[in-house]
Amino acid sequence: MSQKTIEAKKLKRIFGENIAVNDVSFDLHKGEVLGFLGPNGAGKSTTMRMITGNLAPTDGTAKICGVDIIEEPKRAKENIGYLPEMRPLYKEFTVNEYLRIAAEFHNVASKSINHAIEVAKEKCGLTHMSNRLIENLSNGYQQRVGIAQAIIHNPQIVILDEPTVGLDPIQIREIRSLIKEIGKEHSVILSTHILPEVEIVCDRVQIIDKGNLVFHGSIEDLKKQRRGNKIQVGMRNTPSLLTLKKYFDVTKIDHGQDGLKIVHFKNINFSLEEFVVAAVKHKWGLFHIAPHITSLEDTFVQLTKNEKVK
């Protein structure tokens, strides 16, 4: 696969007696958008803080474009753009002034600073707000300034901690397409609570719970997890569970929405066709049949719950 931009190995962080992040390892490649999911307090932000050099890991290493963040922080940090959960904005400055400071701090060559500011503003839709004080901007616009600050030096890796919080739906769509665009050339790590966002924007997903990685794979893998051994059926004469068991490996029938039933099979290798044939033959009055897709939320809850049971 293509060039690795982040290589995190067994990152661990202990706060007092509390293990916030436990042996988290992952790679990020160029041109990839990685979604970082997890319930509150799972260790998402802690992991991000460690990768960006804001927090020293108790154990483990993180390499940014091959440069160790602990050994050579300055060189490593040149490749990172980071928007923390709390927007780090100097509200007494105007958008232009603030972005200039951000560009200077990130070693943007003085000749190209003006250009960099214009590009970042255009990408984030801030051009008409150039001379407004950040303090006076609405929440959504402040968030855009935060994103502009993270991409101004054209970094290899952009790390965004819940970037769409507080934006209106149109802005969210714009920001998502912006993230996708950045993801084409660079790598993006996106932490979010909004599950559909992950599906729309990310190539790969990582779910973290109580400091441990519980799922790590492509978005396709996650979708597969969602397609289970259940079907959703609507029948006028619903047979009893015992009757159904005569023909199929059914374990349970649940009541779904709108009078539909959810039939649980023992394993995934069942045939919808056979079910339809049987339904016609025994006059069950079948009028609706569809694979029952677990919502992303359910998958998420399952994944994070399983860990708790262990």
Partner: protein, 248 residues
Amino acid sequence: MIYRIAKKELKSFFVTPMGWIILALITCAFGWNYFIGVNNYFEVMAGAIRPAERVGVTIYVGQTVYGAASFLMLFSVPMLSMRLISEERKQQTLPFLFTSPISITEIVLGKFFGLVLFLSIMVLYVFLMLTTLNIWADIDFGYLFANSFGLLLLVASFAAIGIYFSSLTSQPIIAAILSFIFAVTLFILERYFASQPNHWFSYISLMKHFQAFSRGVISSKDIIFFMLFISTFIVLTIRRLDSDRLSG
């Protein structure tokens, strides 16, 4: 990098009213002292009959102005330094600095020099104000220079104390109060130990070292004292910020 941070801090002073208000108030206070000094000079000197009682105009006015300046700075530096780091903590902007390719040492030094640069504006115009005496008198520039240099070192020491206390808290006001109390204590320690001039408490009093400059004496001993004093607090601040990164 240090320069860029200093520039940002300096800009920060001038985009908020705080910087302007303090500059205005201090200018007003200095001007008033200067005016009183010049006014009184003739009265006092007219009354001084013996030659030993007569002093030059530079020393007389200089003492009035610089004496007031050191006292005024004691109040104003904590007001200026309080926001340096505590405000960043409060507004959660420290990650912005920590994620930039800047070391913590550079951040602290940049902030420190930004403030010192701002304070040196005041020191400079006190100097310029006193040089206007040269229009009608022949003044002692060496004396003025020693005093300005001493004042700069003194305010830099206050700034170092200020930045350290600012790094301890996320409440600027608390930082201001703490650094004010601490600076006053160090400043006047000497008074309490007047009977024991060789006590080490008396030695660490900032006033004692400033007094040498205000007599017009630039001694390397005092310069080294101020330098050590400043570096101690800078190092403490760096360590404090570094422990943020280590312990979260």
